[in-house]
Subunit: 112 residues, 2 copies
């Protein structure tokens, strides 16, 4: 996998378990144990997923006695939407109409 920030973020999101973890964290911080509950997989597996999310900057991990509470950090998701927004005109009808309008304007300019 490439190691530029956007690629790291996309790669981290390319797994339903990790997206479910983020969805859970959207409701508030949680311990590793709590995050593991919904999944039929071992602790170390969840640990690995969390490390991927941490490296992508999507979560931060604190410390409270023997617990390591995870909290969501959605900043990288903003970059994701900003990137995808560059393609909005290809699916958004209103943007498509605006594109067509600008195209007509440009053609009028060219007529001069």
């Amino acid at each position: 996998m490439a190691d530029d920030p956007l690629s790291t973020t996309f790669a981290a999101l390319a797994d339903p378990t990790r997206r479910a973890i983020l969805a859970r964290l959207a409701e508030g911080a949680a311990t590793v144990k709590e995050l593991s509950e919904p999944f039929a997989m071992s602790g170390p597996a969840v640990s690995k997923h969390l490390r991927v999310l941490e490296r992508a900057g999507l979560i931060t991990r604190g410390r409270d006695a023997q617990w390591r509470p995870c909290t969501l950090d959605a900043t990288p998701l903003r970059e994701v939407t900003e990137w995808a927004d560059g393609f909005r005109r290809f699916w958004d009808d209103s943007h498509r109409r605006l594109d067509a309008y600008l195209e007509r304007m440009k053609e009028q300019e060219d007529d001069h």
Copy 2:
């Protein structure tokens, strides 16, 4: 890699070469050769990237004599932004203010 649609899309986007290909296709259809130009890699490597993009539904490939023109299909990107929008309140200040407002309303309700 998981094979659900969203994971497939995210995985396809987790590579700068593939994102550059999509950016190029945003300016119009292109042949495999044209898409290869900017990259210092062999033809088969580009072919593989295109196959990943095709499996993710991000491009479609036509046929014109010995050329296989690629065109962009951004529909999966809409799903991406829709998913990320579920987290918008964690980075968007205006949404954060709305959240706080709703929270205060809820507290007032609880006082009754």
